[in-house]
Amino acid sequence: MFFQKDIETMSRKQLEELQLERLKWTVDYCYKNVPFYTKKLDEAGVTADKIKSLDDIRYIPPTTKADLRDNYPFGLFAKPMKEIVRLHASSGTTGKPTVVGYTKHDLDLWSDCMARLCTAAGATSDDIVQISFGYGMFTGALGLHYGLEKIGATVIPNSSGNTEKALMYMRDFGTTVLVATPSYALYMCETAKSLEYPMSDYKLRLGLLGSEGCTPEMRTQIENGWGLFATDNYGMSELIGPGVSGECQERCGLHFNEDYFLPEIVDPETLEARDEGEYGELLVTTLTKEGIPLLRYRTRDITKLNYEPCKCGRTHARMEKVQGRSDDMLKIRGVNIFPSQIESVLIGMDQVSPHYQLVVRREGFADTLEVQVELVDSSLLDSYGKIQELQKNIAKRIQTVLGIQCKISIVEHGTIERFVGKAKRVVDLRKENK
């Protein structure tokens, strides 16, 4: 099923011509309407005329999250507030949030993007969809909300929070599609199983997961727990919100909405283009956005792109699941580590829950990594030996994957915080120790 078949299946040649034309427009639009870009492009000596092919994008300097923060709140807006119809903000862990503004045109393209991805995932006008992302300033909930309404699905704007009530709506309204973060989808499933209602009271058939990474193992756990088919989607508020890319039912990569967003994969240190199929940092240039156009935005996400046409018929490039954020990347004793790697080890084990926390410390001159996991297999309580065996086993598997030693702490089930939004798995105490 397609929402806009002509665009989603257009030939690569046509698509690239469209991208080039829109890239030129965006460079010119940024230059004329955003003083930040006027200065930046002047310094780099780039004008729209200099862009003769898509490869010429390399002359354009990248934009970072810090640029958005430094221009808080409206410094990067290309339109006067009169034409801005919506604001969203993403919470910053330090200092000011990042504020994004949308024109009517932007909201329209956003809901088109979402409608395409939801249709590709299998949602239809027959579905009853419960949105369990938090509403408010976060882009996730409203992004899915408008896209799903556009395809004619019935939307329940349940938001996140009262899980038991959300489960009651699910049972009583016959919800067929769940929109949630993977960790919340899992938490809802744990809660559902602890209630007196049988799982057959739930009619979920599709999960549209997003806003945080999801390993294949975690997805399997969500699918088995709920008896649904889950797809992943990707985006970020700086670019538009969710809707940048998403999986079709083939689930072999996330189709990029390439007519609206131009992706590049570069070396995170040198920013030089990586060969097709190589991992690197994803940079995205918006192609038609009016509120906040962005040139070569550094997503900090590590992934790769596949330009082969998909079995589903779509020609838009497929992005692999994000392997890690270069922000989240931990350097421990010189080794680059992504929390997702540890997650994939834990999710393959029945004795512990998939919730975990990493604590990094500096002891003497060496960094240490502690992985806290929750014990769920109570049969191990029979002897210390069994629990110690489990600790050793986890440590060994992590060492195989990461190449470093770590300490495994077993904690009680339910004591690691469940996250509704982006999960914060890492506590880095190295800075505090000086």
């Binding site: 109570s378 309580l381 029979d382 629990i387 009680e412």
Partner: protein, 145 residues
Amino acid sequence: MTPVKQISVFVENKHGKLSSIARHLADNGVSIRALCMADTTDFGIFRLIVSDYEAAEKALKAAGVTCSVTEVLVVEIEDTPGAFADAMSLLADNSISLEYVYAFLTPEVGKAYIIIRVEDNAAAAKVLSDGGIKIVSQDEIKANA
């Protein structure tokens, strides 16, 4: 051979954890007959013999505590020097190795109970009763409450 049910509870070494477990049991009318707590530097396993293990398990699970029920052997010996040594010798002589053991005095003067965790309860029970040692049943534990 009638093994007795023992509750094992996982406890992180956190302040106040044991008192909260004991409180959950008390609030549900469960009395503790015997207990043993050993720990490593990170965590401990709290083992309990209680008046009503089903009520105890239900109360703990409802409180979200990770616990399990295992079968252990409880035997009665005289509260005299050498009685414990004799019982242990019987097991050792028959190559039955112990995972852990703990003991408590009974309300009945002059007797003591030993709680024994072995691989094969039936084999250990046979060795001990053949050696003239009385095996205590679940009902007797309950009756003593």
